[in-house]
Subunit: 344 residues, 2 copies
């Protein structure tokens, strides 16, 4: 099965399951679910139905494919797929408040439309609905001990997500960040939930803990590789690939991996100079060029690319060791290479 | 067993269980759990250990007592008690941000110390830890189907809590609020979690759904009666009882039950006048006296007192119908009368 075939087959099922999880109870004031429906691309700001592509739904697709790969019926994993997507979206609603982001996917964010207080509450409600959605596994005949394990795994991942977000917010306020701390941050913020997506899919298919852990590591490795690649592209990526100007992350003084790799060095003139640049309120185009020259001289790019390759290869090795069902295995390999576009 | 005996016996166990739920994993940055420990009264703003009474822990005590009342071992219900208390505290951390409250229980709030972004994230993490804490029921030998039912009930209550908070925030911005809408709001914001506390305690003791629903209604009734009494005291309470000046809620233009009872009336001169007063930016002492005169003339106080009595009696009737184990029954009756101090 190609990735496109998987998308064509599974995305409509995922959307249906998400809508089932997000059906308001009888006593709900319209705006309560309305704000969440807006965020998911199903409503406009007046809560009238629309259909906007809000997100690629790659995490839930990954859950269905790992379920199939582990020998299960992907339909049984739909509640897990929806739960993972709702946790992701809860975190986006809250991140947008925390980062003061006015727009997401070209639309005004929930907090910018309805205020911070209602947006905090909408995120809380969506996290709650993610849990209630996961309980639908019981209706699919998943045995109770596995439903419990799935609920536990989802909250373990969400705790990692919160830990990653804590670190990310913390890093913004200081220059003493090194590559190890950064990797801990993205392990939580990016990799844990994709790991959970893989783990839950396999868990629906099989009680074998070694196997479910393997699929968790597939997702985790892909998450890490993806984030690191994103960091490389944010500095050296071509505008026609990234849709953003070259060195955009430097211009915004983002502490991405190549930057913290250098910032973390002691007694290093390049690190001193980069720290001084990042301590400025704004960077001129000359400053940006200086920063990139420092990163290039410090071999920050090959360091990051090597690390991305390592995590991609770990993910692919774990995938093969799991002996995936061939159709799903093909789609998962293609998804891995789609996520991490460069053949490092 | 008197309420004091129950407090002496159970509060230390509850505190130990809460601490067990809130133990940071090895890879946690100190401030991540530190902010949550601060909120719970276990740490100062520098994350040094302190022991401050932060909250009465009445919800978790209620859980242990309903477990015992339903014939169970209250120790087995400790994870449920802790989970309910953590959900309550998650909601306080977020409410304080949403309401812009600088202090709670005489201490600076989490957001006022560490900023909104970290406080949103700390609340999210505490909600997650509430779930992980509830999973500890499995270690206490609670059967899987009941662990699943408990997890589901907790999220149902939390969704009601979010719905109540949505309505509360919504009410602030408008004057068209009536008593029915208000009751829906406090059913979610105050009563649902206390109902869940009772339900979970009974659930640990017994698989009988009629019984667990009964204990849910005991908690729900007490929650409603308590909130309505609080509304009455906020307007007519003596300062030496409430610790606040007379009519404090009116001075702050709070839309509590006696107020919305009048505001909701159509074609009523008193309602018109009250609406006009509440539309002002500030109320003079003369305005406050006018508002109270309108409420008195509209019989708002006996209306509210009658409703509080009704919900207290419903709770007590449900409690007797559940045939509680005598020791726990005694403590529960005393708790009900302690919560709703007036003998209506």
């Amino acid at each position: 099965m190609t990735l496109q075939e998987a998308l064509d087959t599974y995305l409509p099922l995922i959307e249906d399951e998400l809508r089932a999880c997000m059906t308001p109870p009888a006593n709900s004031p319209p705006a309560f679910f309305g704000m969440m429906h807006y965020h998911l691309g199903w409503a406009d700001p007046q809560f009238q139905p629309v259909q906007i592509k809000a997100g690629k739904r790659l995490r839930p697709l990954f859950t269905l494919l790992t379920c199939q790969a582990a020998g299960g019926d992907p339909h049984d994993a739909l509640p897990a797929a929806a739960a993972v997507e709702l946790v992701h979206n809860f975190s986006l609603i809250h991140d947008d408040i925390e980062d003061r982001s006015d727009t997401r996917r070209g639309r005004t964010t929930v907090w910018a439309l309805w205020g911070e207080a209602q947006a905090i509450n909408a995120g809380d409600a969506m996290l709650t609905l993610a849990h209630l959605g996961l309980h639908r596994l019981s209706e699919r005949g998943v045995p109770p001990d596995r439903v419990i394990a799935a609920l536990h795994a989802l909250d373990q991942a969400n705790l990692a997500l919160c830990r990653g977000q804590h670190l990310d917010l913390d890093f913004e306020s200081r220059l003493e960040v090194d590559a190890d701390a950064y990797m801990t941050m993205i392990q939580g913020k990016t990799a844990a939930l994709l790991g959970c997506a893989g783990q839950l899919g396999a868990m629906v298919a099989s009680p074998d803990r070694d196997l479910t852990e393997r699929y968790r590591r597939v997702g985790e490795g892909l998450g890490l590789a993806f984030q690191i690649q994103d960091d490389v592209l944010g500095i050296w990526g071509e505008p026609d690939v990234t849709g953003k100007p070259v060195a955009d992350d430097i211009r915004h003084r983002k502490k991405s991996l190549p930057v913290v790799y250098v910032l973390g060095r002691r007694n290093d003139p390049g690190a001193e100079r980069l720290r001084a640049l990042y301590a400025q309120e704004e960077l001129s185009e000359g400053d940006v060029a200086d920063a990139i020259a420092i990163l290039d001289a410090s071999q920050a790019r090959p360091y990051a690319e090597e690390l991305a390759r390592y995590h991609l290869e770990t993910a692919l090795t774990e995938l093969e060791a799991a002996r995936p069902e061939p159709e799903a295995g093909e789609a998962l390999r293609e998804m891995a290479h789609f996520l991490i576009k460069r053949a490092y």
